[in-house]
Amino acid sequence: MNVTLSTLLLVEDDPNDVMLFRRAKDKSNLANPLQVVDDGEAALAYLSGQGIYADRSLYPFPALMLLDLKLPRKSGLEVLEWLRQHPGIHRLPVVVLTSSKESVDVGRAYDLGANSYLVKPVAFDILLEMVKALGLYWFILNEKPDIHLSQGE
């Protein structure tokens, strides 16, 4: 695996969704390494490099976070709020990937600084399209912001 490629962090508690996402990512030939955490507190630990995530060679700071909203321990919105108030790392692009189409969720996510909001499709083909588009847009087309890890850790 090419270590220079930036990491994609998926915050998702449903193992089925994780499996389907991996399958879609593999099928779409998205080569970027994928890291998965399955609850909100783990997401915070990963982003701040604490506990088992202290070693950045094993757990590199991501270039993009895909964030589910309904999570154990800490909700996706809480993770987002925490991140945006955290100097140094607060610019990390965040794409919400969740089941909810409820306008309150969408509005709240954007209010808290989500860069994009995607609803998990039921049809796998559409998920595939979505992952392809994500890879193209966020890892190739999108200009990445400066991240200052020293301040974030």
Binding site: D14, N16, D17, M19, L20, R23, L69, K70, T98, S99, S100, K101, E102, S103, K120, P121, V122, A123, F124, D125, L127
Partner: protein, 474 residues
């Protein structure tokens, strides 16, 4: 000192004696002739008598004139007194030991008796019985000098048995050499009546004040009771509102849960069945492939069903604040959302401009028009190219948007059923759908203050319409 008549008499006696003594002696010395002296003496006596008579005459005349003058003065005074007592507006009663001895015309007028009758009556016989004892006692006492003048109000009874109120001043005076009782009086019946009227009015007023106060108190009590009831009602209402809010919250939680959790297993079913189809295609015979395909289709259908249900329930829950909406753009947006379906069925959609602006909620209106167009394209007989015409007409302050198709139409008896949730007229194999689309149309229009209906004949296509208020000034 002696009285003037006595003095005159004594003076006359002295003068006569002196003249008798001196005149004789003087004549004897002056006149020698006794004859002459005798004649002069006689002359002197005549002269004395003459002078005496003259003096007597003058004195008597003066006395008589004085007496006459005194009588005249007395008569004058008596006339004046009578006139005074007879014309004065005050009644005057004089009594001697109670028996009336003088009354003036006013007293006669007040009592109603004649003078002759009055002068045989006791003073207190005129007075109302309840005052008789008091008047008798006080009048008699006053005659013997006890108590001075007094003034009081008395009720008398006239000869005609009428009550009359007098203000009386009682005193005792010397009259014809003896003490008599004097009572002067004037009529205060009118004043008494006025006072009585005022008292009655006051009493009446007081009674009415008491009554009105009681009424007010009753009204206040009623008000307090009403306020209490209102407060209770308010509390009940608030409780209802809280219950309602609780069930809305529950509904929200339910929808949220449906939105998040119910679709997760669907994704797994759909995703892994597809993985099965792809990765294990070699191991599946055509029947197995068909089953897998059916699983995928069912999962997809359930997903659409859930999304439609959520959209429908969200229509009931959310606030649709109406704003001016450009109808042309809205129709264009709905058409573009249906692009895939339109090209799949090679449908011909013609929009007859202009479409006026309306007052509504744009996202809901897009959903409504999308559902109508989608149905118009879907419900055609096999092999028929869908042709949809869209136009609007304004009347009054309303705009009616028509969506006309060349589809299979709706039998008249089903006209109302189709707007209900989960109502379907056709098998899922023939015309797929959730049975929620038209329910969303009607609910959405109603929530925006509009309405929706259909004009249709079985087999001859349908004309659906939705109606909204026109934008003010548009």
């Amino acid at each position: 000192m002696t009285s003037p008549p006595l003095r005159i008499a004594l003076f006359y006696l002295l003068l006569s004696a002196l003249s008798i003594v001196l005149s004789d002696r003087l004549l004897q010395q002056l006149v020698i002739d006794p004859h002459l002296a005798a004649r002069l003496e006689i002359l002197g006596e005549f002269t004395f008598v003459l002078v005496s008579a003259l003096v007597l005459f003058l004195l008597l005349r003066r006395e008589h004139a004085a007496a006459q003058h005194a009588i005249n003065t007395l008569r004058e005074r008596e006339r004046n007194f009578r006139m005074l007592t007879e014309t004065i507006a005050t009644a005057i009663f004089l009594h001697r030991g109670g028996r009336l001895c003088f009354v003036n015309p006013k007293a006669i007028a007040y009592s109603g008796y004649t003078r002759e009758e009055l002068l045989t009556m006791e003073l207190w016989q005129l007075v109302s019985p309840e005052y008789q004892e008091m008047v008798k006692e006080r009048s008699l006492a006053r005659l013997t000098g006890a108590g001075g003048p007094a003034r009081y109000e008395l009720k008398i009874i006239t000869k005609q048995r009428e009550a009359r109120w007098l203000e009386v001043t009682a005193d005792s005076i010397e009259f014809e050499g003896a003490p008599v009782g004097l009572a002067t009086a004037y009529d205060i019946t009118e004043r008494k009546r006025a006072e009585q009227d005022i008292r009655t009015l006051n009493d009446d007023l007081e009674r009415r004040v008491i009554e009105r106060t009681a009424e007010l108190e009753a009204a206040n009590a009623q008000l307090r009771f009403s306020q209490e009831s209102i407060r209770e009602l308010n509390m009940e209402l608030q409780q209802r509102a809280e219950e309602l809010q609780a069930s809305i919250d529950e509904m929200e939680a339910f929808s949220y849960s449906v939105s998040h959790d119910l679709r997760a297993p669907l994704r797994a079913i759909q995703g892994f069945t597809q993985a099965l189809q792809e990765d294990y295609a070699a191991q599946l015979d055509p029947a197995g492939q068909d089953f897998a395909q059916r699983i995928v289709a069912a999962a997809n259908r359930m997903d659409i069903l859930i999304q439609d249900l959520l959209a429908y329930s969200q229509l009931s829950r959310s606030e649709l604040s109406p704003k001016p909406v450009n109808l042309s753009k809205t129709v264009a947006e709905a058409t573009s959302q249906l692009q895939a379906q339109i090209s799949e069925h090679q449908a011909i959609i013609s929009v007859i401009e202009p479409l006026p602006d309306v007052f509504g909620h744009r996202p809901t209106l897009v959903q409504v028009i999308t559902n109508l167009l989608s149905n118009a394209i879907k419900f055609v007989a096999p092999g028929v190219t869908p042709k949809v015409r869209i136009w609007a007409e304004s009347y009054g302050n309303k705009v009616r948007l028509w969506v006309e198709d060349n589809g299979i139409g709706i039998p008249a008896e089903h006209k109302e059923r189709i707007f209900r949730v989960f109502e379907r007229l056709h098998g899922i194999e023939t015309y797929p759908g959730t049975g929620i689309g038209l329910a969303i149309v009607r609910k959405g229009m109603e929530r925006m203050g509009g309405s929706a209906d259909v004009v249709s004949q079985d087999g001859k296509g349908s004309r659906f319409w939705v109606e909204l208020p026109q934008t003010r000034g548009g």
